[in-house]
Amino acid sequence: MSKVRTVEEAVARIPDGAILMIGGFMGVGTPPRLIDELLRQGKRGLTVIANDTARPGVGIGKLIDAKAVRKVIASHIGTNPETQRQMMAGEIEVELVPQGTLAERVRAGGFGLGGILTPTGIGTVVEEGKQKIEVDGTVFLVETALKADFALIAAKHADYLGNLDYALTARNFNPLMAMAAGTVIAEAEDIVPVGVIPPDAVVTPNVLVDCIVAKEVRHG
């Protein structure tokens, strides 16, 4: 059965209050049509796991502007004053995670690991409430896996089976998140026939992708 759905159908699967992983880094590699459709359908109470909240009016920043987000797990919100304002006002919950640790926690969720041992954060506020463990005389922080209900992925190409590739720095968290969510919705710049993406160029294997957003119909 084809995995292609309209953007309306794809986003309609996402209930209010869902936990979303959203790819992108300052908006680069964030799926634009999925973001706009979340807004159009008026989703509320979302938890967003992402590197950052970009800027007002950009990428995940649009969800913040619309107050669609209840909680953010991110490495950085400094570029979005509206996220900071909502956090200070107690309107939104923010969990800050070192960027490398965030990448590994998402990866661990997708790879069936309970977590990873890292020196990052030891001796800082990041270690508060977390287990520590000693290995060969070095103390590491135990950082646990993150999973999500949905991953919203921006790819360069998708084929009709769901194989994905990415372009340059728009790759960022996308392939990690595509492993770590119950349902993976991918928006690609182009959808190509099966076999067009060579096996070695596939970054996200088809079996991980549940839904490919249909291309917009354009005339002229």
Partner: protein, 218 residues
């Protein structure tokens, strides 16, 4: 020459041919403009590329290629792109030779605070904690004081970025090396005396009998 340029030029002298280097946002970014002739380094942008370069000419940008601030960049021949886990694998796995970061405070133990001011500014640590914990060499490039308040202090009052001792502090007044014995004044800026540096420093400095004047790239 303005203070930031002075700092960037001095930091540039720390880079060695073949180094993999990550420059933080703001002042550290300027270092790329002052590489000594013949020193080819690879710059990493932690959002997923080794081999970043300035945009080669007006209009030659791609929506898929940006730096960690989201601004368009270029790529040198031989650049490599990868996901965030690999990017931080390079940083955390000891593959990054040098990171240059800004600072809010550095203390007598060489510990850095550069990611938040409680109650005022909570931008998040981004990649800073990973960079300081993982890079082979951490250079803090910052102005020596903030509106007259020393940024080099006995003990950081702001939340630490890492407990790791940074390797070098470069300001518009001095080059200071954190060591096991304490902060050692290695160089002073042109026209600056060790006494001047001490006046703007909130921590003890070890001042050798002779302190050379800062070398400056290019």
């Amino acid at each position: 020459m303005d203070e930031k340029t002075l700092i960037a030029k001095r930091v540039a002298l720390e880079l060695r041919p073949g180094n993999l280097v990550n420059l933080g946002i703001g002042l550290p970014t300027l270092v790329a403009n002052h590489l000594p002739a013949g020193v080819n380094v690879m710059f990493q942008s932690e959002n997923g590329i080794v081999g970043m370069s300035p945009v080669p000419e007006a209009g030659a940008v791609s929506g898929d290629l940006s730096d960690a601030g989201g601004s368009p960049i270029g790529a040198v021949p031989g650049a490599a792109a990868f996901d965030s886990a690999i990017s931080f694998g390079l940083i955390r796995g000891g593959h990054l030779d040098v990171t240059v970061l800004g600072g809010l405070q550095v203390d007598q133990d060489g510990q850095l605070a550069n990611w938040m001011v409680p109650g005022k500014m909570v931008p998040g640590m981004g990649g800073a904690m990973d960079l300081v914990s993982g890079a082979k060499r951490v250079i803090v490039a910052m102005q020596h004081s903030a509106k007259g308040t020393p940024k080099i202090v006995k003990r950081c009052t702001l939340p630490l970025t890492s407990v790791r001792r940074v390797d070098l502090i470069v300001t518009e007044l001095a080059v200071i090396e954190p060591t096991e014995a304490g902060l050692v004044l290695k160089e002073v800026a042109p026209g600056i005396t060790p006494a001047d540096v001490l006046a703007f420093t909130g921590a003890e400095l070890i001042v050798p009998a002779s302190v050379p004047t800062m070398a400056i790239a290019g």
